[in-house]
Subunit: 136 residues, 2 copies
């Protein structure tokens, strides 16, 4: 079985938060939306159904934890969850906090405008806050 | 606990396929993309994390079945799965077959252009084919 390597495109767009039991958790470097990406550490997976049943159960758990956390942290009106992968074949799941005041509302965030990188201190503080909440 | 009623907006945009153990399965009436919508029959749910742990497990199973089926039926390059709900608060999960030759590729289908209803015989034949595959 081949080893997991994070896709270069995902690595370039994000900051590492932490590894959960199945997924690597990344913070999208886009200050427009509180946005996490979960990447199951399974080199062979590009669709959810490529995962084993037990991995799919774990993935659902991790999506749930990240969604609840993002909602609590941001006070978002809605959480959007999406597994698209039209551009990046490595299986990854977006968990995005949405609000009627965000710039893309009510449309999807994917492909919307240009990302706005965080100022590095704010980015690192947010990633640390999420890391602490997820691994506690 | 209040009774489940399908949202009027979802009903207007779709054709009923069948009820699985948790979800009502709908076929989006849009011939541009093979597109199913799963609606967990839980009146209180607007986020995935509103479901019980066992319902979430069942939902993952039903998403997997619908994704595999849609991929087989359509020969799609990619399955997109999304739970957005910015416009329709009732929890519903999109399962969409995507291909590099489709009109929205590689962007998301949500909010893209105008839907193109199927001719009724083609629509009913497709819904019947999916129903047969899901309930067998």
């Amino acid at each position: 079985m081949s080893e997991f390597h994070l896709s270069e495109r995902l690595a370039a767009d994000t900051i590492l938060v932490c590894d959960l039991s199945l997924s690597r958790v990344l913070l999208m470097n886009d200050a427009r939306f509180p946005w996490l990406i979960l990447v199951p550490r399974r080199a062979y997976a590009s669709e959810v159904f490529d995962l084993s049943e037990s991995d799919r159960g774990e993935l659902m758990l991790e999506i749930t934890r990240c969604s609840e956390l993002l909602k609590t942290l941001s006070g978002a009106a809605k959480i959007n969850v999406g597994a698209l992968g039209n551009l990046v074949p490595q299986l990854h799941i977006h968990v995005v906090a949405r609000s009627p005041s965000d710039i893309a509302w009510p449309g999807p965030v994917w492909g919307f405008g240009k990302s706005e990188p965080y100022a590095p201190p704010a980015r690192d503080a947010l990633a640390a806050r999420i890391r602490t909440a997820l691994i506690s």
